[in-house]
């Protein structure tokens, strides 16, 4: 019997029961598409985190409070700490140290109100340290900080939210019902993975402490080293100064911690890696579910197909011809479903999903395609291969 005849049988088998073929294809397609898409989302998230952290610069240290060991007291990070870190004699490797407080705040203008993701109070050096540039208007000055003026520099996201059609600079907004004047808008930085770097408002430290955050511990001190080479020196000097000020003895756990961008990067990467693993397991589950769907459809129709196998054997079909036909049918459905799934995965990856631009991982395409094709092939041909081994009468009597 020629291959073309077997192929014709397979094509007829696939087209004869269109619903079954469509459902099988759909199951494989969903499995493949979701694996590709979910892994792409995880990958996209971790890539943008890395990019945005790398964009911050390599000469930055972040000092943040942390709970001390039980027994010892936790001292807050204070503005005096920040000033001490900027001492050019004690800490020659430190260029600047900006105290940062952050508050949760709802800003409103006219009828629109918007909950700003990061509302922070700091000094003007912060802008230089974090590579923040002004797009419109100006940054606030040291004088503004000293006077505690109610001025604010807003990020691009906040600007478009509050001022969809007007110029923000010079306008007044209410932050938690306290009026602030917008003096500048920051140039856009883009999304840093899970967090929009443009969803920010920056005001003078004294103002924020006074009006919003109170005079407790600083959230952070952002330290800039004189150069990237001096980062380790700066970290040592910062630690020495703060240990002295916070009276941390040798071997004791400090009530603060100092992290470089590199350390921050690896911490964040670890987070997004977890995220990716999570998405991958969701994807694996959907592949499994798709596979079970395919299996179900195959098994539901298997009785009819086994009778068909019985009929074919009764009129003299060889086991090889039957196997070939069913293997070809399964191959066609799997490949078609897999191809549709890859297409759907790529199309879906073109959209921004929950603020994340998915980036397709090539190996995930291969994996998803291979796994689903194997599932389809196996469940399409295994029952058939067993049935082909039966005597014709056994296959005909199958229930």
């Amino acid at each position: 019997m020629r291959f073309t005849e077997i192929l014709a049988f397979a094509v007829r088998g696939v087209t004869a029961n269109k619903l079954r073929s469509a459902l099988t294809t759909l199951g494989i397609m969903i499995g493949v598409a979701s694996v590709i898409l979910l892994i792409a989302v995880g990958n996209g998230a971790s890539q943008s985190v890395q990019q945005s952290i790398a964009g911050l610069g390599t000469n930055i240290l972040t000092v943040s409070p942390q709970r001390a060991q039980a027994g010892s007291t936790t001292k807050p990070l204070t503005v005096a700490d920040a000033t001490a870190l900027a001492d050019p004699v004690e800490a020659p490797a430190v260029k600047s140290a900006s105290p940062v407080v952050s508050a949760s705040a709802t800003a409103s203008h006219a009828a629109t109100s918007y909950s700003v993701q990061q509302f922070i109070g700091t000094d003007p050096a912060y802008f230089g340290t974090t590579n923040s540039e002004v797009a419109q208007g100006a940054l606030f000055s040291t004088d503004d900080v000293r006077q505690g003026r109610k001025v604010v520099v807003i990020g691009a996201t906040v600007a478009t939210q509050l001022f969809p059609s007007s110029q923000p600079v010079g306008q007044s907004i209410l932050v938690n019902n306290i009026p602030f004047t917008v003096v500048g808008v920051l140039a856009t930085k883009g999304s840093s993975g899970l967090q929009d770097a443009d969803d920010i408002a920056v005001a003078p430290l004294s103002t924020v402490q006074n009006a919003l955050a109170g005079y407790g511990s600083l959230s952070q001190i952002v330290v800039q080293a004189t150069s990237a080479d001096k980062l380790a020196d700066a970290q040592a000097q910062v630690t020495t100064i703060l240990d002295g000020r916070h009276k941390i003895g040798y071997g004791q756990t400090a009530d603060y911690r100092v992290l470089s961008q590199e350390q921050l990067l690896s911490a964040r990467t670890a987070t997004t890696d977890t995220f990716t693993v999570l998405l991958a397991s969701v994807a694996a589950i959907s592949l499994l579910v798709g596979g079970i769907g395919v299996t179900n459809i195959m098994l539901v129709t298997v009785t009819e197909r086994i009778r068909e196998i019985g009929i074919r054997k009764a009129v003299g079909a060889r086991r090889g011809s039957i196997l070939g036909q069913f293997l070809l049918e399964a191959t066609m459905l799997s490949l078609f479903g897999g191809a549709l799934g890859v297409a759907a995965g790529f199309i879906g990856s073109g959209f921004t999903i929950a603020g994340i631009t998915p980036v397709v991982v090539p190996s995930s395409v291969l994996l998803a395609f291979a796994v689903s094709a194997l599932i389809g092939l196996f469940f399409g041909s295994y029952p058939a291969s067993r049935a082909a081994r039966l005597r014709p009468i056994e296959a005909l009597r199958h229930e």
């Binding site: 019985g310 074919r312 054997k313 009764a314 003299g316 011809s321 005597r391 009468i393």
Partner: protein, 293 residues
């Protein structure tokens, strides 16, 4: 009805000649010889008329087309074993028209399935044209079913969602017959059962009687020497039954060996010989006119 071409006759003669000793090595050649009667090198001249072609008169040699010795078939084992056939002997001569009757569960279908090589017996010998099939493997039995036997089931057993023509063509595809010839012969077979105009219909678009006639067309399209039918009218009304029996009568008249199972006396009356099966054994064998055979 046209007589079958010379090559067919030659095939039969060949298979007759290979008969001889009691034991001989079983190989595909033997099956090919057996199968030779209808398809191997079938002449195109026969193609247009195959459906209604006669198989010609029985070749010389006189070996019965079916010979069954001490046939036993046991389902299951131990306490639950069912002895469906208990040492049954049967000889069917070439061109015979035989009806098998008997109570339900007496083993009729089991016997016919063995005769059709759809099932294999637990023990005993089954010779087709004098050639012992007991050592035949899966492939050789398949070849036998394809070339030598046409089987008609009570429940039709057509492939669903597939046209009548494609169903009839099926055995020819597995026999390796080329497309054009296949088409012509299948149409001829459909013409013989009076369903030429239904070639493009699917089984669910046909009545029971029409489905059974398609099934008969499929059984006769390869020009088999033996046509076996297990209660072919069991699911049909009187009118359809008469049509189906009319076709089987014509097959017999054209020289084919026809064996059918039935419960109905008027169906059995079409046959020239009736055997009665009780508990897996033949208890009575008589002609249609009541004379013990």
């Amino acid at each position: 009805m046209t007589a079958r071409s010379g090559s067919t006759r030659g095939g039969n003669t060949r298979s007759g000649n290979t008969r001889g000793g009691d034991t001989r090595p079983v190989d595909t050649r033997a099956v090919n010889a057996l199968a030779g009667n209808s398809l191997a090198g079938s002449a195109p001249t026969g193609s247009a008329s195959t459906g209604s072609a006669s198989i010609g008169s029985a070749p010389g040699g006189g070996a019965p087309v079916i010979e069954v010795r001490e046939l036993r078939k046991t389902y299951g084992s131990g306490d639950t074993a069912v002895h469906a056939l208990r040492g049954l002997d049967l000889v069917v001569e070439r061109g015979e028209y035989l009806a098998i009757m008997g109570a339900s569960g007496s083993g009729k279908s089991t016997l016919l399935n063995v005769l059709g090589c759809l099932d294999i017996p637990t023990s005993g010998r089954y010779l087709i044209d004098g050639i012992d099939t007991s050592e035949f493997g899966e492939a050789q039995l398949g070849l036998l079913r394809n070339r030598k036997i046409g089987f008609v089931f009570q429940s039709f057993n057509l492939i669903p969602r597939t046209t009548a023509l494609a169903n009839v063509e099926l055995p020819l595809v597995y026999a390796g017959v080329r497309r054009a010839e296949r088409r012509a012969r299948s149409m001829a077979a459909l013409r013989m059962v009076g369903l030429e105009d239904r070639a493009g219909h699917r089984p669910n678009e046909l009545s029971g009687g029409q489905q059974q006639r398609v099934a008969i067309a499929r059984a006769l399209v390869t020009g088999p020497a033996i046509v076996l039918a297990d209660e072919p009218t069991g699911n049909l009304d009187t009118h359809s039954s008469q049509e189906v029996m009319g076709i089987l009568d014509r097959l017999h008249a054209s020289g084919r060996t026809v064996v059918l199972i039935t419960h109905e006396d008027d169906v059995a009356a079409h046959a020239r010989r009736v055997i009665r099966v009780v508990d897996g054994q033949i208890v009575e064998s008589r002609t249609a006119w009541g004379v013990p055979a």
